[in-house]
Amino acid sequence: MGVIHVTDREGVRHTLEAVEGWRVMEIIRDWGLPIEGLCGGACECATCHVFVAEEWLDKLYPPTEEEEDQLDTVVTRPNSRLSCQILWTPELDGLEVTLAPTGG
């Protein structure tokens, strides 16, 4: 078992127990933090947009073209990722992400 750290939109940092094989979006949603995940993890909506802490960026698989296309539909930063496209493995123990703001 391991954990991920998630900073919510109020700036509060939560430490969540992670589950191997779950998408980071699913872990965040399961713990009840406000992440929409409208399309259910199909990489079709970008409502699970997060900012990944710099030191973790290189440890993730790079985004697919499909994920880049979806990131085109939100206001990104260089460390933007879709959390439904990050599969949690023990190597990601301690992963640090921040929930991106939601539009109106």
């Binding site: 199909a42 079709e44 990131l71 085109d72 939100v74 206001v75 539009g103 109106g104």
Partner: protein, 346 residues
């Protein structure tokens, strides 16, 4: 005064669950009209993932979102449902009693319906343009910020900033460029997911200095609201610059919002509509909610759950539409009367 449409049932949402409800209602001789905010039939299946394979529809080892919609359309064809696309239901007014419900339903296009039951199969809500999270953007909406182009002439001789990299952004870039005083396209990266000839056209306009292309993200709107004067753009390296513009058109695709449903007097829980699991009726008799938009203990947001919910809701709807008739439960495999309705009777 527009003509009022009288029907048994109005279904809000033409996604898979709304479509299958037509079938279940049709078997019970109940007529319906469907309303959807999208210009096409199929809801999320058609809008978000038409090409994505789905593996958990009973009887289909694999079917794409669009394939499922096409099959459902073929399945409900015998019942000739009427579709009202590109319309959003704005208001629902109760006219009847709990025992004999009657509703007046009105859309934003001015269409009105009178119906004995209303089925909300609206999934995640209404598809609406995704708004970028920029401070105070609401203050400029309708004057300096537009999420759609209704009349091109509104942008004549204006300094126009288009944001996005998909088909809408690129199409409007090449269409508005000849009209605008100056057109700027802003996107987060130098890759565009749009028709290649449109991208090429944009590139040639940039090469000829007839428009500008910038890479970055809008982080601030400037100007005495509601008048937009310029936007601040952040590059990937965190430096910023300003672009003057009278109007900004963000084309970030669609998202789903509950919208006017919140104002119809229904009990809601976290943007979902609680229902019972016998009839899938809401807190208002005669209004049902099926599919992703409802909630009850054990709810699973699966298309197959929505199909089941529609079948059960139809039984109760029958009592409202035909209060005098006893409902006989029948199978399509053996009932000649059902087969007749389906147009397959021997």
């Amino acid at each position: 005064m527009t003509d009022n449409i009288e029907t048994d049932v109005v279904i809000i949402g033409a996604g898979p669950v709304g479509l299958f409800a037509v079938f279940e209602l049709g078997l019970l001789d109940i007529k319906c009209h469907l309303i959807d905010i999208l210009p096409k039939i199929g809801g999320q299946c058609a809008e978000l993932y038409p090409e994505k394979p789905i593996y958990d529809i009973p009887g289909f080892p694999m079917v794409t979102g669009q394939g499922l919609v096409d099959n459902l359309m073929a399945q409900i064809e015998p019942f000739h449902p009427s579709f009202h696309l590109n319309e959003m239901v704005e208001s629902v007014e109760p006219l009847g009693t709990p025992e004999a419900p009657l509703f007046r339903v009105k859309t934003d296009a001015g269409t009105t319906f009178t119906c004995k039951a209303l089925i909300i199969a609206a999934g995640g809500g209404s598809f609406l343009p995704k708004k970028p999270p920029i401070d105070n953007i609401e203050a400029y909406e309708g004057t300096g910020v537009f999420y759609a182009v209704r009349h091109m002439h509104m942008f004549k001789d204006k300094k126009v900033l288009i944001v996005g990299g998909g088909d809408s952004a690129l199409d409007w870039t090449v269409n508005l460029q000849p009209l605008a005083k100056r057109l700027t396209l802003l996107h987060r990266r130098d890759v565009f997911r749009a028709a290649p000839h449109t991208v090429e056209k944009m590139r040639s306009l940039v090469a000829a200095s007839e428009m500008d292309l910038h890479l970055g993200q809008v982080v601030e709107l400037k100007g005495e609201a509601p008048l937009l004067e310029s936007v601040v753009i952040r590059r990937d390296d965190n430096t910023t610059f300003e672009v003057e513009c009278d109007v900004m058109l963000p084309f970030f695709g669609l998202t789903m919002k509950l919208g006017p449903i919140a104002d119809w007097g229904l009990n809601l829980r976290e943007n979902l509509i609680p229902v019972d699991t016998e009839k899938f009726e809401t807190s208002v008799p005669g209004i049902f909610a099926i599919g992703d938009i409802n909630t009850y203990p054990g709810k699973l947001k699966l298309i197959l759950s929505g199909f089941h919910e529609g079948a059960l809701a139809a039984q109760k709807v029958h009592r409202y539409v035909y209060p005098e008739k006893k409902l006989l439960f029948q199978y399509t495999t053996s009932s000649s009367s059902l087969q007749k309705k389906l147009g397959v009777a021997a």
